[in-house]
Assembly symmetry: C3
């Protein structure tokens, strides 16, 4: 059984390694995969987006664990959410909001069964003391309902969805930068298809600040050196890129910046 880990612990500290030690101590057969440990510290929205992009690529039954948890040790609840294919363990701080928005969640349990926790439970490291052992017991086949009682009032954050303007254009925003400096936007392939309504992608005009991009590139290599281009990225979102360069640097753009899509008449 696969357990994925998405935390803001970084890799310099031994936090992630220690979580793995706890998991293997309970289930030596677990297969653990690191999704990312380097979203900015405390950045719940970034973690939420990374999970949205990733979870579908894992086999059925995978347990996805998110520990980006500025409220650790306070009253925020630890959650176990189930979908048709996956389990998600996360603090109740909205980090699963994309899942809730997509209406994929079949049930959410507030984890209260302390006999599965590592004792003593610290006030600062629930990744080790709660989420790791619960993930490990869950991967051994303990049913979700054993870990607590079902709830309905979990925290939802607003997820940035593109909006149709009065003039018909589509407004989205940059939701993250990747390592290559690509600007990943809130606009998905299906949003663009709806905007185009059968027209060719060549009729698209994409505005990022002062910059205007015409049409979509089929691949990164197609762009002109140093010039911004637009592409449907690997997770189905519109991305602004610069061929073998950084769009973030070239365009001076960052998270939250507005992206506007229009059609040529």
């Amino acid at each position: 059984m696969i357990i994925t880990l998405l935390t803001d612990f970084g890799l310099a500290d031994p936090f992630v390694g220690v979580m793995k030690g706890v998991i293997y101590g309970i289930n030596p057969e677990a297969e653990i995969v690191d999704l990312s440990h380097e979203p900015p510290a405390y950045d719940v929205k970034e973690a939420a987006f990374l999970m949205k992009c990733s979870y579908r690529y894992f086999p059925r039954g995978t347990i996805h664990v998110v520990v980006v948890d500025p409220g650790v040790g306070s009253k925020r609840r630890p959650l176990l959410a189930t979908t048709d294919y996956y389990y998600f363990l996360a603090p109740d701080n909205g980090v699963l909001s994309y899942l809730f928005a997509a209406d994929e969640v079949r049930g959410v349990i507030h984890i209260t069964a302390t006999h599965y926790f590592l004792k003593p439970v610290s006030a600062t490291f629930h990744g080790r003391d709660i989420f790791a052992p619960v993930a490990a017991y869950l991967s051994r086949g303990i049913p979700p309902t054993s870990f607590g009682e079902e709830i309905q009032d979990w925290v939802r954050l607003e997820v940035p969805l593109p909006r149709r303007q009065a003039n018909g254009s589509l407004e989205g925003e940059v939701v993250r930068l990747d390592r290559f400096g690509n600007l990943i936007t809130s606009i998905e392939e299906r949003d663009i298809a709806a905007l185009l309504g059968g027209k060719s992608a060549d009729s698209l005009r994409i505005k990022v600040g002062e910059h205007k991009i015409v049409g979509l590139s089929a691949c990164f290599a197609e762009g002109r050196e140093g010039q911004p281009g637009a592409i449907i990225g690997s997770f189905g979102h519109l991305e602004i890129f610069v061929k073998e360069g950084s769009a973030a640097e070239r365009l001076g753009a960052g998270r939250g910046d507005r992206i506007l899509l229009e059609l040529v008449k």
Copy 2:
């Protein structure tokens, strides 16, 4: 059998991956966990502290491998230390000093059985040529005594322990910064309990440079935005933090800086 790796190799170079290749070549059943590969280069003390914080969270029989080794290729000896629960492989440079100080070590072997090494043994990468293959053979059940002869004169570094001052206050120091900028101190929960002698934690006054902190927070979320707080961290050490910020930056403090604990009369 689990083998953990703690090195200063970083992850940009393929050193760690190559060690894993060597281990799997000898024991395909090994389960390898990365503890950290990013302590500052050559920083034996930092690695010693990271290992102290981590090793207990792994299942019995785990083999912990430390390769922070400025003396690689010189006459410094490769060691195999055993405790009641674990094995430790490390260079004889004091990186296991916390273990020795805690009196947990049952025996130390100077590894000399060259027929277990990868040939030719390089002068610069004993992680690959000595520690990885010895860890792999050990994980296959070869008894520790097969790897060399017992010694008593291993290197010990002084570990930073808190000291009681003449006026009754307790003096410790910052032993490391974590990714969040928290200042982790040499003062442990039990030291504070001894200082308090039954009094409430509210009577604690903690001095870091010019800054004074009153009492202990129960969790990070309890702090006031931008203000330093003190907490018992996840590894049982007193930590100075700033809510959703960096205590190191806010207080201008770093490793080696003095921390003073006093009781209000």
Copy 3:
């Protein structure tokens, strides 16, 4: 069966984790090892050198996957190269050039069997959509020839080999910096042996810019604090180092810089 991953994806994005999800979905028994995910973005030469240094340390049958792929989504072909001991999956952009130069390759297949790919195949992430699933099926025993047809006209990049000067000296170059600031050169141990022709290494004079180094050190610890030394590194290449410091900083040297080896008369 071991699958290694060498990409320029970094670890902040979930790209690598997602590739692992795809692999485990096809072959739950695969053992995945990260070689490095932090060569500079798009740096095919750096990745080629890292692979050259690493692949031999893995057990027979290991599948080495390289995804440093500025041409992803364009017409560049995905390749499967086989040697006597290993499989290599990589884009046809020269990233396997050291293997080709060493004449170790027994056959190269242009991967065209799209029924093994993850659908829909994106234009930007062949690591997930082509290389990961092909690696996973290959690790399950599907024969290489099932993935496409043999080709001969793959891309080769010139690999930096040291050159003998008219005056008998040997000219090489810095091919990479490691984490410690060591300068790794294109000059290998056997090149030095040929230059020495039986003479002692003490008669070597090594020039890096203005700096001159005499002879070879047997280990890093042997150097004088702050002074540059030369050593045969762990992958058999001549390296310039500074004891417990950074040679790159101390000598102001970087990749591509010339290194000259002479013999004292």
